[in-house]
């Protein structure tokens, strides 16, 4: 297993796209921190990168990589190896290499320029989102045989998580404005890992505005140690569940 992971990581890290992703992230984060006069504003600009670019690259790159290595996978399957080992190695290779890319590209500037609680939260959320979207990508690719369809599916999933979901939530908020929606909203936010990550960062960045009545409910929940435990658990579940599902599909898949 270790050999396969090593091979996958080495293969991906040599990939031009991942190198470009790292350099672009690095350039963006450095310029953001150098242009803004205070680190908090830099973090704010970086927030959008973490919440939009990172999931997009993670999901699209992983999907394409899985399709491109279909012959490699077939080769491995023909060897005396468990399918579970192959699939998990592939996932781990992807997740670790993209996480390294994110860590070098965005993590290092964050540590250098804004190593506050907010910065560290953002770094952790970015790493979590990378892993979650790799996991969603492997699920999307294992369920579709056609490459174009698979990539389309993962792009749609990204679109759903980063834009459509929020639009729908906003729509429902206005449709049901007469009802007390504060507590249900906490539950709804667990349905989208990007939202969950954003709220955890929001609690650091906009804590004054969140001290209003509604905000206080969010703050009470997500600010308590129980809330943070639950939020982290949900994020981990978002990484684990799609992976397990994809593993189940891969085990039964006719290659």
């Amino acid at each position: 297993m270790r050999k396969i992971i090593k091979y996958v990581i080495a293969d991906i890290l040599r990939n031009k796209i991942v190198i470009a992703y790292t350099i672009v992230l690095l350039a963006l984060s450095l310029s953001v921190f150098n242009l803004e006069d205070n680190a908090n504003k830099g973090l704010l600009s970086l927030l959008n990168i973490v919440l939009i670019i990172v999931p997009l690259i993670s999901i699209v790159f992983s999907t394409i990589y899985v399709y491109n290595s279909s012959e490699f996978i077939e080769l491995l399957v023909s060897q005396p190896l468990k399918r579970k080992t192959i699939w998990l190695s592939l996932f781990l290779g992807l997740a670790v290499s993209l996480a390294i890319a994110f860590f070098i590209g965005a993590g290092l500037p964050i540590i250098l320029y804004a190593s506050s609680t907010t910065g560290i939260t953002m770094l952790v959320i970015g790493l979590m989102l990378t892993i979650i979207f790799v996991s969603i990508a492997v699920l999307a690719s294992v369920t579709t045989r056609d490459k174009a369809k698979g990539i389309g599916k993962s792009i749609l999933l990204w679109l759903y998580f980063s834009i459509l979901f929020d639009g729908l939530v906003l729509f429902f908020l206005f449709q049901f404005a007469d009802y007390p929606l504060e507590k249900p909203m906490v539950a709804v936010s667990a349905l989208n890992p990007i939202d969950l990550g954003r709220i955890l960062i929001l609690l650091q960045l906009d804590v004054s505005a969140l001290m209003g009545y509604t905000g206080a409910i969010f703050k009470d929940f997500f600010g308590s140690s129980l809330g943070i435990t639950i939020a982290s658990t949900v994020l981990i579940l978002w990484a684990v569940l799609p992976l397990l599902w994809s593993l189940k599909r891969f085990n039964a898949k006719d290659l």
């Binding site: 908090n40 704010l44 939202d195 929001l202 969140l210 001290m211 509604t214």
Partner: protein
């Protein structure tokens, strides 16, 4: 000869003033034998008095903070004469009543009273002035341990008083730190009012007052100035007032007032205005607040100029489309415009009310979507084609650089 008589009188006066000493027993008896203008030196000892009533113009001086105990039953010192000074006492455990306003030190209908350098601990009301005129309350340290609004009094409470000077007091744990009702021509200067249950400073029907260089920190609901006019608020610090109904500064039915050079830091709302009119807000710094200012549509002729708005979640919030106020030459850190002619003034107007602050005003749970892609999208569209945000609420001459305040 014309000048000689007053000078002679001046030299004669000290001859009549005597110094008395109290070292235990009844302080009241010592006061009763003193004449007007006498000094009473009070040393630490146990005093048997329940309530000390001062009916002569004496200078009551505590040496090394003698303790006067109200035993949770009585008012400790009642001042019922003009020209009284109470200096250097430690006053503890006044009575507690829901019918009477029992205080540590209470001024009844008197002029020129000075209350200075006292320590008040666990009193119901701290220092209370009722029809006081030209009194000074200076350098007192007032603490209480109230838990609920109804069971505690105010730190410094002035009612129907005039020309009061309230200087350099430290007030904590009361219902309101400083409370003014029907008080005119007063100055509140260099006080520190923090950790009170309701307001740090509370004005009701008090006109022509100023408060300068005070610190109001972490009070239940910040500072409230209501139903007053001609109030001047200069160089105060309003900090860390957090909660849905907590404001750095709450203005309700205020007119003709000045808010200048203040610092509003980390409040849920820096300033909240309702029914306010003709107010000058200038040279203030709003930093890291949830809302820098919330100006309700019921306000008119508010002039907001030359302020710094830094790192606030929302700079300005409002609840309607009617705008009768003016914003001019402020620095907004969210401004994205340009300055072609290099006159340090942005060439396109800035609209401080963001779309999303209007949405949150109407639908508070929407706060959970703040800083999401969809929220940013809505904000950007709104900036180009304003529909929900008030058209006229804009700063035509935003500054490119922050003011040095």
């Amino acid at each position: 000869m014309r000048y000689l008589i007053p000078i002679l009188l001046l030299f004669n006066l000290p001859v009549f003033a005597k110094t008395h000493v109290a070292k235990g027993g009844s302080l009241q008896q010592v006061i009763n034998i003193a004449g007007n203008g006498d000094t009473i030196l009070v040393y630490p000892a146990s005093y048997t008095d329940n309530e000390i009533v001062i009916t002569r113009s004496v200078y009551l001086k505590g040496v090394n903070y003698p303790v006067l105990d109200g035993k949770k039953k009585h008012e400790v010192i009642a001042i019922k004469a003009n020209n009284v000074t109470v200096d250097g006492f430690k006053i503890i455990r006044s009575g507690n009543s829901s019918i009477e306003d029992i205080a540590g030190i209470k001024i009844y209908n008197s002029k020129n009273v000075v209350i200075r350098n006292n320590i008040l601990d666990d009193t119901f009301f701290g220092i209370y002035s009722q029809y006081g005129t030209n009194c000074t309350i200076e350098g007192n340290k007032i603490s209480a341990y109230g838990k609920a609004e109804l069971q505690s009094g105010n730190g410094i409470h002035c009612w129907k008083s005039d020309s009061m000077r309230i200087i350099n007091n430290n007030i904590t744990g009361h219902r309101d730190g400083i409370y003014f009702e029907f008080v005119t021509n007063a100055i509140i200067w260099r006080n520190n009012s923090h950790g009170n249950i309701r307001y740090g400073l509370h004005f009701m029907f008090s006109n022509n007052d100023s408060y300068v260089s005070n610190i109001f920190e972490n009070n239940g609901a910040g500072v409230a100035v209501m139903y007053s006019h001609n109030v001047k608020m200069f160089r105060n610090f309003f900090e860390e007032n957090w909660g849905d109904a907590a404001y750095g500064l709450l203005l309700k039915e205020i007119s003709d007032s000045y808010i200048e050079g203040n610092y509003f830091t980390r409040n849920t709302s820096g300033i909240f205005m309702e029914g306010a009119s003709r107010i000058h807000v200038s040279k203030n710094t709003f930093r890291s607040n949830g809302w820098g200012m919330k100006i309700q549509a019921s306000c008119m002729e508010i002039n907001v100029e030359r302020n710094n708005f830094l790192n606030n979640t929302f700079d300005v919030g409002t609840n309607g489309n009617l705008v009768l106020n003016k914003f001019d030459k402020n620095y907004w850190d969210k401004y994205e415009g340009y300055d072609i002619n290099k006159d340090k003034i942005g060439d396109i107007p800035f609209r401080p009310v963001s779309m999303y602050s209007m949405i949150v005003e109407k639908n508070p749970p929407a706060m959970i979507l703040f800083r999401s892609f969809i929220a940013a999208l809505l904000d950007k569209t709104e900036k180009i084609l304003p529909s929900l945000t008030p058209e006229n609420l804009k700063d035509d001459r935003p500054l490119m650089k922050p003011l040095s305040l």
